[in-house]
């Protein structure tokens, strides 16, 4: 057995494999199919201080090797999470990380403060990159000043591990990464979904109620990989890589490009046990190549 544990700031992961926000519910949805406590971490659904109904149906369009979504952060709010969901998930033996969203700096801060009170939530992932909400969301993630402002404000009230999730819908993702690092983010995760669109030719109408939506799945992997590589050259803080991962091989590629850990999103829909296969595959890869620890492959790309 190779050593699979890695650290993201103060956060200890038993292995680098985690599941991405919005694709894995609160973890319990998958518990019939796999032992979810084997994961390095679970990023739960996007949470906002107030409840949100999300966007109207239809919210999904399939693409070859991926999908577009326009869920729009439907959730029952931070209080509901704390009172009704947290008690169900707090004893799962893995890192349960809450993905925090807002529509203004104040609402990001309020939500982060509310989640900070929950003892068994060791980290938050600040979502400044959701393309599916009108206010806030991605608006903060596409400029350095917006990203800095929200991270600075949340950093003041959030003492635990602060991960900032970056949008690929920018000219230069490394600038945003540097900006959030400068404000004290403990890590960055990338990428969120890429802005896309689907049209129903027969009906001459958009497929999604919101016309545009977020693209994810294997089709975005090369873009995500490139962005992880570029970002790893630009910042010192750990990077959590995601975007289209569907196998252990993809995970190895992201780690070679500089990711300390990875998340699996859309592919959970295709194979709910994919993350377990990735953990086992990473171990096999390390053994096969004589690495004592998976940490040896982080950024080990030879160019």
């Amino acid at each position: 057995m190779a050593e699979l544990n890695v650290n993201i700031g103060n956060l200890k992961l038993k292995n680098p494999v985690m599941t991405a926000s919005g694709t894995f519910g609160y973890g319990i949805e998958y518990a019939d199919f796999m032992d979810i406590s084997r994961l390095g971490g679970i990023f739960v659904k996007g949470t906002t201080i107030q409840p949100r109904e999300g966007n109207p149906y239809p919210r999904m369009a399939e693409t070859p090797a991926g999908m577009l979504n326009a869920v729009g952060l439907q959730n029952k709010g931070a209080d509901y999470f704390a009172e009704h969901i947290y008690p169900q998930i707090k004893d799962i033996d893995t890192n349960m990380i809450v993905n925090v969203s807002g529509s203004s700096v104040e609402t990001y801060v309020e939500c982060a403060e509310r989640i900070a009170e929950l003892e068994r939530i060791p980290a938050i992932e600040l979502n400044i990159s959701c393309p599916n909400v009108k206010q806030g969301g991605m608006a903060f993630g596409v400029t350095c000043s917006g990203a800095s402002e929200v991270v600075r404000a949340v950093r003041k009230v959030y003492p635990k591990t602060l991960i900032v999730k970056l949008s690929p819908n920018v000219t230069d993702i490394t600038e945003i990464a540097r900006a959030v690092e400068a404000e004290g983010a403990d890590a960055v995760s990338l990428i969120n979904t890429m802005l896309g669109m689907a049209i129903d030719a027969e009906k001459r109408r958009p497929v999604l109620s919101t016309i545009t939506g977020g693209l994810s799945g294997p089709c975005v992997k090369p873009v995500a990989l490139r962005m992880v590589w570029q970002t790893s050259k630009a910042v010192q803080i750990p990077i959590i890589g995601l975007g289209g991962i569907s196998s252990w091989k993809d995970a190895v590629e992201f780690m070679l490009a500089g990711a300390t850990a990875i998340q699996i999103g859309t592919y959970n829909f295709v194979d709910p046990t994919v993350s377990i296969q990735v953990i086992d595959g990473l171990n096999d890869y390390c053994e096969r190549h004589g690495f004592k620890s998976v940490r040896e492959i982080i950024g080990a790309l030879e160019v």
């Binding site: 894995f24 999904m60 070859p64």
Partner: protein, 260 residues
């Protein structure tokens, strides 16, 4: 109910119609308990443009042969690919998913009408079989475009009386299910329906006007099928979005915003 991911073997693939196939999938071990109205998420492998699983209703569960039946209408690449499956092929499914139809209490003397249209007849067969096993005698009202589009009629007849409408009048009464004379001749206490949305809406309006309880089965597009992605939502009367894959696919029409 506990959900499973299983590799099932194709025991038969019957082309009932140019556009429909009946897949009979056999388990190595006893298939888990499944309720009528529940569905399965079928993985479609080696079909380049099919990425996500396909939600398909439970058509029938043959306990003696340990078979799960899926009635599949060929509409796009994913379903066409499934229709090519050969005996012995392995098909990966997640099951049983969602909430099924509400069965009446044992001993109730309810008159039950099961209305199916197009591929929406699929869940009605297993529902009819379970009702019959529970001591009820269901009545089926099945609609199709033409005689050749009415599938599995003998199987339906094994569980109850079958009435038929076709749009061209080639079998049964001409017209839509909601025009059938059986609705005037008999009084039903409960209607279950699945089919194209306009048909289900017409059935729901009829049931509501007559004060008959009614459950419909929705077919919203899905990604995960297990309540994780929130893509499949339906807005209920109370304005809240709920997941069709976990709260449905079967809903009482009282909850839906359709009749407003």
């Amino acid at each position: 109910m506990k959900k499973y991911m299983l590799d099932l073997k194709v025991a038969a693939n019957e082309r009932l119609h140019p556009n429909y196939c009946l897949l009979k999938l056999r388990g190595d071990e006893a298939l888990p308990e499944m309720h009528p109205g529940q569905f399965v998420q079928v993985r479609v492998e080696d079909s380049p443009r099919t990425f996500l699983r396909r939600p398909i209703s439970i058509n029938y569960v043959d306990r003696e042969r340990n078979e799960l039946w899926l009635l599949i209408q060929l509409v796009g690449e994913g379903t066409r690919h499934l229709a090519e499956a050969r005996v012995g092929d392995s098909i990966n499914v997640l099951l049983p998913l969602g909430n099924g139809f509400t069965l009446p209490n044992e001993g109730d003397t309810q008159k039950l009408l099961l209305v199916g249209g197009g591929v929406g007849t699929a869940p009605m067969l297993y529902l009819g079989a379970c009702l019959k096993a529970g001591g009820f005698t269901p009545t089926f009202l099945l609609g199709a475009r033409s005689e050749g589009d009415l599938l599995q009629l003998d199987a339906f007849r094994a569980w109850g009386e079958v009435y038929v409408t076709t749009e061209d009048g080639s079998m049964g009464e001409r017209g839509y299910v909601t025009n059938h004379s059986v609705l005037k001749e008999k009084r039903f206490d409960m209607i279950y329906t699945c089919g194209p949305k306009p048909m289900m809406m017409a059935v729901a309006r009829y049931a509501s006007a007559e004060g008959i309880a009614c459950e419909v089965s929705l077919e919203n597009t899905m990604a995960c099928g297990i309540g994780a992605c929130l893509c499949c939502v339906e807005k209920l009367k109370d304005e809240h979005h709920v997941c069709v894959c976990t709260e449905g696919p079967v809903f009482n029409i009282e909850k839906l915003s359709w009749l407003n």
